[in-house]
Structures are given as structure tokens and as C-alpha cells.
Homo-oligomer: 430 residues x 2
């Protein structure tokens, strides 16, 4: 039977919106937004979307009109009553009323701010300028829109059966990954794949597959909308943008050196337990840990997001031991370039030595590698970062020089101040 | 949006019927039925369902009550007005009014006759007795019902995602086969897979995939219902049951020897062109061709349905040459145990030497091998054959002794009369 109402309803859409909710975003953006809203609300920032995969010429693949329609649609969204209720009433990380009333009022009134879009060298230059708590919320929808428009550009040339078989293959591949992960009895793994997902529907399918296939071992998703709809945990803590902006705002070398710790001092005041996760790599993990104040060693865990992940975890374990902490009580979250093979090997290497958790991103929600001729659906490295704060450029170094961002002279200055020596370069897949 | 009406409608079914139409059957059954209705309408026959795969204990897998419900439902079916219109008005093999008025009136009044069902040794003994034109129409629905009940028995233990991934894998596998067949520019291939299909919906999907993937190279389906709904050709000519019953009715050795030719003499009167296809293997291809009357060499082609297919085709080519016919004007239809590998090799071997066509059966519509633990969905060898006619047992020898059926002493008698010597035994997969 044809569901006439659904078909007519679908026809009414002027566009088929990619982002249909303000909370179709990562949970940590909301946590960070609340922190920024409290501590640095008036900072002016610029976020910029950067395609690190230059060979994928997005401006040639994606129609500018369609991109504008999608971005404009995202700007038309506001928090629904149900979304607001969920954010206000839900328990996150075991805590009720995670979001303060003043922040919720801000969020309820929020619309995404204006964007600037230009084409250059076959790429889109998409930037957002304004108050930090507003601009920062563009990151995930902007990435998801670009990623999915690229998928659609490739998919629209395919026939019905090619599409059916494409998704059959992708489903088979993902399910086989989940079956492999089932072999790990103590696995803790979450979906971190919103930003580079193939599409919203595909991420939603992937999450459902994880629920069905892994049960309790699947700890939740970073995506608030999916967490709400599927009644699972929303997962995430904090990201590089906090130390990057705090660092850019520093007036002296000394202030710059302290900026990453200041971020976590603010965080320390607001959160406890499993939300106290150190992201140490913004300006090099080794230096960060070496100069860290003692109270940081009391935090719950560390997220390893660049460089050699095993090395990062070993560094963390040694650091805890040096500071008199028992690593077996600590949590290491791996979240960089994960797929089944390295999940299994990291699991094996660290099981029993430390609590281990995985934030599985792109290769959970966008592993379409090799599924179409010319590999036109392979994931690629699109990021949306704070590039300036109050008129000053931001810098990120990370533990992989291939991921460094910022002006060259500022990168050199940061490397000097944070005593970052030689770093091993690693390929950035996504 | 939930389609409430569809859900409520589906809930109203007492059972979920497997066979929902009298023309959910193979086209050649209707052609043969018309021939029998004209030439031997009063013959009493017994058809019996035989599971050649003894290790699959159908009576333990399939609930007897469910089986009876399905068989009873099939007995409640009659030709709908639209089906009758299609059979009366459609062009089959380029010919209008393929089905005579008296036959259509018979078919419009037909209900499937009674069945006898017993359990023995973990198997069902399912037999049908009565007038040949009625009983013979049980073959395909009986097989399809048993096959699909077995699929359902295995599927009902699976979760939603396991099911989704199961079909994703099966779709991927079939599509890869179709992609491989696309490489053959002059391919002519039809779906012959009704009788051993995984399910009706799966056969329907397979046909649609063949339409989309192979275009003109896909010549049609043996299934009348799918041919009607998908607006494609219904394909098929005649089968072993005609010579088997004619042979059983023979009163003398001399009549027995002539029986297979008598079948084709009756057919010759009724059909021409692409419907004049010899099925020579019932009592051994070599002897059949050697003693065949000259007018048979004028027929359009030969169907190779047992034994080594390349050898069967070479035998046919030599025979045509001996009879002064040009093999390049003749058609060889391969229809036994086909899958991509032997389709490709037979295509390569005979292309240009003879017209080649393929009737692809079980491994088109039921290749679920290796897709569930214990291989519980692998296709198996279920047949439904005429076992007696007017109280006498039928015999089939074919070109593979593993496919011989009938009482041992009768098999020996037939072998003697048809001068069947040593035969090479081949595994029967399906």
C-alpha cells in the first residue's frame, strides 16, 4: 500500500534538510558551550571550515545554491519544547540538571548566526564570526551538511538497485565489524561519528546496529538527537577549541603556557566524575603532562586523540604512576582514526592495566571506502575549527604535525613555549 | 509516518500466505497443462513431494499445522479476473491467444485438489492424486510452500538487525553475480527459480535486480505472477513429467520406446518457434537423439538439464550436424545447477557455435549458502514429481544416475529399452 500522506508530505519540502534539529550535534559542544557561556561569553571568534583532502574539490561536487539552502535551513532551527525538556530533565553522566537554567534560556533563544561562503580553488571557504557561544555551535551542522551534500552528489547518479546494493554492502561491512567487536567481553565503545557521517540516516542506522549488536558494551552516542530518540546515553566531554581559544587570548608567553590548564581549572569547577577527562595533546601531550598541576592527576581519565595511540596511553600510564595514582582506576579514551583492527589491538594491549573506552568516529558512520567506482564515497578529512579569537589567530599542534593548524610563525612560537620537540608524522585518514 | 492501514491489514491475516495466486507458478506448467488437458485429460496421476536432502529433516523444522494452513490456503485460490485477462490477452513467445478458450474455462474453474500429508522419518510425505491436469498444478506451489516454510523456520529465530544484514549480504552476493554476468555481451538468461526460491519476495527482488542489472540480456521469468506484475516475458516450454507419464501409460516395450517422441508429436501440433524445445534427457540424451524422427531435428532447440552440460551441448551440436542442420541456427538452453562460474564457461565455450540461453534457478533465487550459522538457509534438493500414472509407477533416468527416480526393477527395464549404458554420476546440489 502506498502511504500517500507520507509521499505528499515529503514532496512539500522545498529541500530535503540534512540538519533538522539544533541538537543534531555533539553533546560535548553543548557542554563546552555552557562552559564558554559562563566563563568567556563575550569572546569574538572565527570558525572556519577546512577541507584537508584537497583532491576532493567540494565546490565542483556540491552546488552552491543547495549548500546555501541547507545552511539557511539550519539557521531557521530553534530548540523545540521536547528537546529543551530532554536537555533540562535528562540525566547525563549520572547527573541531573547538567545544564543550568541561564544556559538553557540562552539555548532556547538561540539561532545559528550568519555565515560567509565563498568559492576558491575548487573549495568552499565557509566561515562563521561572532560571539563564541553562538558561533561554536555551527561546527557540527556545518560539517554534517558538507559531508552529506557530498554523499548526495555521488548518490544522485546511481540507480535504485545500485543504491540498494550500496547500502547492503555498507550494512554488511558495519555488521561484520560489530561481530568482530563482540569478541571483546569488556569493551566500552561509543559513537563519535556525527561530524563526518555519510548521512544522518546512516548514523542513526549505525547506532541502532551498535545497540543491537553490542548491548551494554555500546555506551552511547555523541549525537544528542539520536541519543534522545533512541533513549541512550549522550557521550562527550571537551575538545581542542577550549585550549585553542584560551591560548589565543593569552597576552603573554606565561599566560599562554598556563592557558590549557586554565581551561581545565574552569572545567574542574563545573564537572566531576567521568566528565573530568583530560585532552592533553593540543600543544603536545608530553609537555602538557609534565607541567600539569597535581590536581589534574586526580582527574578520571585522558582522551588520546592524535599521535600513536598506544604511545599516548603508555605516556598517560607512566604519568599517573609518577604522580602516585593507580592507572587501573583511570580511564583512557581512544578517539583518533579508530577501526576494528586498532580497537582490538589497543583493547588487548591495555586491558587490565587501565580502564579503556573507545570513541569510534568516521569509520563507524562513514566507511563507504571502495563501494563506488572511483571511491567517490570514501570519507575525507573535513574540519571546522576556531581560527581566531578576538582578532588573534589560534594554533593547534597535537601529537601529529600533519594535524597542526595556525600561521607558521605562531606554530613555531607555540612549539617553543610548549617545548614541543621532534614529532612523528602520521597519515591523517579522516 | 506509520502506515496504520497497512499494519492493520497485515494483522488481519490469519496466516501470512506463501502462495497468494494460482499463477504464482511456472509458465511451463500452464503450457503442459493445456497439452495434457487436450491430449490426456482423464489420466489419473500421483504426484509426490520428495526431499532428496535427507539431512534436512523438514518434519522437525516445519510445524505440521502451519504447513496444512499454507496448503489449505493454496487450495482456496482461484484465478482472478485480472490473471485470466492476462493469460487470455497477453502475447507469449510472440503468439496471441496461446491458451485456448476451453482450457481457460477449465483454469478459471479450477481449485487445487486435495492433498495427503503424513510424517515419516523426520520428513513429510506429501502426495496429490487425481486427474492429471489438476494434480500437476500442485508441483510448484507445494515446493514453494515447503521451501519458504523452511526459510521462515530459520528466520524466526533471528533479530531485526541480523535479518537486515542477512538480506544485505544476500543482495550483495546476487548483485555481484549480476555484475559478473554483465561482462557477457550476448548473454540470454531467464529466471527459472520459482520452485526452490528462498521466498516469494526474494524471487521478486531477484527478478527486479536482473531487470535493472542486465536489461535486454534478461529475457524473463518462469513465474507467471511476477511476469505479469513486472511486465516481462513469461518463459518456459515443457518438462520431464510429460514423457514420464506417457511412458508409464505405455502398454508394450515398443510403445514405451516411442512414448517420448509421442509427447513431442503432440507438442509439435500445438506449438512452433521458440516453444519447440526438446528436453532429451528423460531416458538418456544419446539414445533419444539417435532414435529421434527427422522432424525433431527441425525443432528450434534443446534444453540441457542433467549430466555434464558441455557434453550435452556438444552431443546436440553433433546430432544437428548429422541431421544436416546448422547448429548456429539452433538454441541450446542450459538449466541445470547453474551459477555464474559455469554460466560464464558455457557461454565462452558455445558462443558463436550455437545460440545459447540460460535458465537460472536455485542459485539465482536461493543462494543463501553460508549466510547463517549451521548453514540453515542453504538451498536443498526438494522435488515434486509424477510417481504414478493410472496405477503404474513412473520412471526418470536423466543423464545423471543420481537423479534417477522410480522402482529399481522399472529403472532397469527402462535402461534396457532405452539402451542407456554407463552414466557418469554427478553431485546434485539442488
Amino acid at each position: 500500500m502506498v502511504d500517500i500522506a507520507t509521499r505528499v508530505y515529503n514532496h512539500k519540502w522545498k529541500i530535503d534538510p540534512i540538519v533538522r534539529s539544533l541538537i543534531d550535534t555533539d553533546f560535548y559542544k553543548l557542554l563546552m558551550c555552557q562552559s564558554v557561556f559562563r566563563n568567556r561569553p563575550d569572546t569574538n571568534v572565527t570558525f572556519s571550515l577546512i577541507n584537508r583532502s584537497k583532491s576532493i574539490r567540494l565546490a565542483e561536487l556540491i552546488d552552491e545554491g543547495e549548500l546555501r539552502e541547507q545552511l539557511d535551513h539550519a539557521r531557521s532551527l530553534s530548540l523545540t519544547r521536547g528537546e529543551s525538556t530532554w536537555l533540562r530533565g535528562n540525566t547525563f553522566y549520572g547527573k541531573r540538571q547538567m545544564f543550568r537554567s541561564d544556559f538553557m534560556e540562552f539555548l532556547e533563544g538561540l539561532r545559528l548566526p550568519a555565515y560567509q561562503l565563498e568559492k576558491r580553488d575548487g573549495q568552499y571557504e565557509l566561515t562563521f564570526e561572532g560571539k563564541w557561544p553562538e558561533v561554536m555551535l555551527w561546527e557540527i551542522p556545518a560539517l554534517a551538511i558538507l559531508m552529506e551534500l557530498r554523499s548526495r552528489a555521488v548518490l544522485e547518479k546511481m540507480g535504485r538497485f545500485e543504491l540498494e546494493v550500496l547500502y547492503a554492502r555498507a550494512m554488511t561491512r558495519l555488521w561484520e565489524k560489530i561481530e568482530a567487536l563482540r569478541e571483546l567481553p569488556d569493551l566500552r565503545i561509543a559513537d563519535f561519528g556525527t561530524r563526518r557521517r555519510h548521512s544522518f540516516l546512516w548514523q542513526d542506522w549505525a547506532v541502532q546496529a551498535m545497540i543491537e549488536g553490542l548491548g551494554e558494551r555500546f555506551t552511547g552516542t555523541s549525537n544528542c538527537l539520536i541519543a534522545m530518540r533512541r533513549d541512550i546515553e549522550a557521550i562527550g566531554t571537551n575538545a581542542h577549541e577550549l585550549p585553542m581559544v584560551y591560548a589565543a587570548l593569552a597576552d603573554t608567553d606565561q599566560e599562554l603556557r598556563q592557558a590549557p590548564y586554565e581551561v581545565l581549572a574552569d572545567w574542574h569547577e563545573e564537572h566531576d566524575g567521568n566528565l573530568r577527562i583530560i585532552l592533553p595533546d593540543t600543544y603536545g601531550t608530553k609537555g602538557f603532562l609534565q607541567h600539569a598541576p597535581d590536581w589534574l592527576a586526580g582527574w578520571t581519565g585522558i582522551r588520546v586523540d592524535s599521535g600513536d595511540p598506544a604511545e599516548g596511553a603508555e605516556t598517560a600510564i607512566r604519568w599517573w604512576q609518577e604522580r602516585g595514582e593507580d592507572p587501573r582506576q583511570k580511564l583512557v579514551i581512544f578517539s583518533d582514526g579508530l577501526d576494528v583492527e586498532n580497537i582490538v589491538s589497543l583493547y588487548d594491549q591495555f586491558r587490565g592495566r587501565v580502564k579503556v573506552s573507545f570513541g569510534w568516529g568516521t569509520l563507524l558512520t562513514n566507511d563507504f571506502r571502495g563501494l563506488v567506482p572511483g571511491d567517490g564515497l570514501a570519507p575525507f578529512s573535513l574540519v571546522c575549527k576556531a581560527v581566531a579569537a578576538n582578532g588573534r589567530p589560534t594554533v593547534k599542534l597535537s601529537d601529529n604535525p600533519a594535524k597542526a593548524t595556525g600561521p607558521a610563525d605562531e606554530i613555531e612560537r607555540y612549539k617553543r613555549i610548549f617545548s614541543v620537540g621532534q614529532q612523528a608524522e602520521r597519515d591523517v585518514l579522516v
